[in-house]
Symmetry: C2
Subunit: 352 residues, 2 copies
């Protein structure tokens, strides 16, 4: 898919606006944490380096805050109305990153050592918990009925997020996972919070249920498109741009979409892949860590040969189409719909 | 202090009522979690054993649910009005137990292996996160303005809970902690959630701010009394009733109240204690784990000799008195005040 013309320049500006409007409230919230959690959180967000010196690191694309502000505009409210939602969703997202990196043993994120690696597992757990608690405080702070509605959706999305991570980990130890199970897991792990980001601003802006639900549907499909692309990057991504190791997801035995789609296919490549993965599942982590690059390259080639790569690319496009279609079911101001569409384009065409 | 006559029989019935009224909603909420988290949570709550067989284990005293129901009655509402608060607070409490046991390396709780020991660290993190998310769903579920008020207080209490755990861990690595710092930590770690439990039912029952705040104050002091007793048990408690090892808090180098009060005293015992603890702080965990019983017995004797034990016993009584005094600042039905007082008696006179 080529990047449509109407996204030129628009998306970086939207992301920058989201970051800029959310940053003061985010920093204020994090500053409330008891030491040393405030410092550890500041490191996680890339505001300081491991030695505590001010830094201006890449703190992520900040798609969620951008979505929350556009969401407020979709309901005819000012983008600022979405700020508590933007901050709360960003806090929940980062809570999950802190805990997931620890559980997955990921040592690098955004080209920097992860929190558990620098500050130890206890700080990764504590600061994650603290960000989650802060998220609930931030979203409820306005004290309005709309804030309470937003908080209910955030709580439900947060639980689905944890469910998704639990499913993801459980799947690593299973020999076989269906495509439907993988999509359900990814819908929980990635779709739920993007759906929340895409609707929370509108809810804070007083949107009715029909608008909120259409925006949620857009976000849910956007999340699945995002995750399909992420799954492609997790196997074939360039370490220089992903900040992760080569074959990252294969090293963790993740049952991501390309893997389960390849296994669901018929033919010799799928059978050879399944035979290898079945044997892999019985290995200890130590045995598995001893694999050389060629072993992963073989698995990646079989996934591609069985059609897992092409299927996942198609799935990203199907989910993108469903996301955009959801925006046309309800009355959203034209320019806002264009920007939400541009954001979806950006998510699906990120460098593979 | 002797147990006052009016608590005879009343407290066990209050605790049992709390458990019985909260149990169906608690089990329903936990049942919503994605496998295997539902099973892991059921193990944590003592509903099943490590092999998945139904069990009727000691699932804790359930002081918080009992408080939440009494709290509803304090506002003139039916005890059932407090149920979402009772369940939410119990979920937050158990979220913190799951994470704290992992961070502290505690292998036993309520005479059973802890979740991280049986199901691994990832499940302890995930199920803790899931219970915290569920708590927010449960408290917001009624969808009323009072539920939103209750949710705000729960969010603030949850964050203080995490702050307290962070302070507790940070103190383990410090040579010196003041009594004021220790009381602040314990107010966060234990006081905040008991304050929330003691007021959340009243808030759900439509209490005004004055009543809610007096009940919070009662709960805050009750929490500090509870923690003072817990700190005594953490050093001098009988392993057969605490379910922990001898000198449990000393083994973890906890700067609990008896320790910091002893260090704050003057005289040779305080000085010898401080010299020992300063040397201890520099030891690796492995060197420390090699200590024999006599080493801990020496430290416990010095704490007692310096007056740390007597001071902490007095502090439990002072906090108890302040808790009861808070109940007399506002208009609470007489029988409810008696029951809240009985519960405070129970907390302070538990077996030392």
């Amino acid at each position: 898919m080529n990047q449509p013309a109407h996204t030129d320049g628009a998306v970086p500006a939207l992301l920058e606006r989201g970051r800029a409007l959310a940053a003061p409230a985010l920093r204020e919230a994090v500053g409330r944490l008891a030491p040393p959690m405030n410092t550890v959180a500041a490191y996680h967000f890339g505001w300081i380096d491991a030695d505590g010196r001010p830094a201006a690191s890449d703190s992520g694309k900040a798609i969620r805050p951008a979505l929350a502000l556009l969401s407020a505009e979709a309901a005819g409210a000012a983008p600022e109305t979405g700020v508590p939602g933007a901050v709360a969703v960003e806090l929940v997202h980062n809570f999950s990153l802190l805990h997931d990196d620890l559980m997955d043993g990921d040592e690098q994120r955004r080209h920097r050592d992860t929190v558990w690696k620098v500050h130890g597992p206890a700080q990764a757990i504590l600061v994650g918990d603290a960000l989650f608690a802060l998220a609930n405080e931030v979203i409820l702070a306005p004290g309005t009925a709309d804030a309470a509605r937003a908080a209910r959706r955030l709580a439900a999305a947060s639980r689905r997020l944890v469910d998704g991570q639990a499913q993801d980990i459980a799947f690593e130890h299973r020999e076989h996972v269906t495509v439907a199970e993988c999509l359900e897991m990814e819908g929980n792990k990635t779709g739920a919070l993007l759906a929340c980001a895409a609707s929370i601003g509108a809810i804070l802006g007083g949107a009715d249920d029909a608008l909120a639900e259409s925006l949620e549907l857009y976000g849910q499909h956007l999340g699945l498109a995002f995750q399909a692309v992420d799954d492609l990057l997790g196997i074939w991504g360039d370490p220089r741009s992903t900040g992760k190791r080569t074959w990252s997801d294969l090293r963790q035995r993740k049952k991501s979409l390309p893997v389960v789609a390849a296994q669901a296919a018929r033919g010799p490549a799928a059978e050879r892949l399944t035979a290898l993965l079945t044997a892999d599942a019985k290995k200890t982590q130590e045995e598995f860590d001893d694999f050389d690059e060629a072993e992963f390259a073989t698995r990646a080639a079989l996934i591609e040969e069985a059609g897992g790569r092409v299927w996942t690319e198609g799935e990203a496009r199907r989910q993108y189409d469903a996301a955009v279609a959801a925006l046309h079911r309800v009355d959203v101001p034209g320019p806002v719909r264009d920007r939400l569409t541009a954001l979806a384009d950006f998510v699906v065409v990120r460098q593979k």
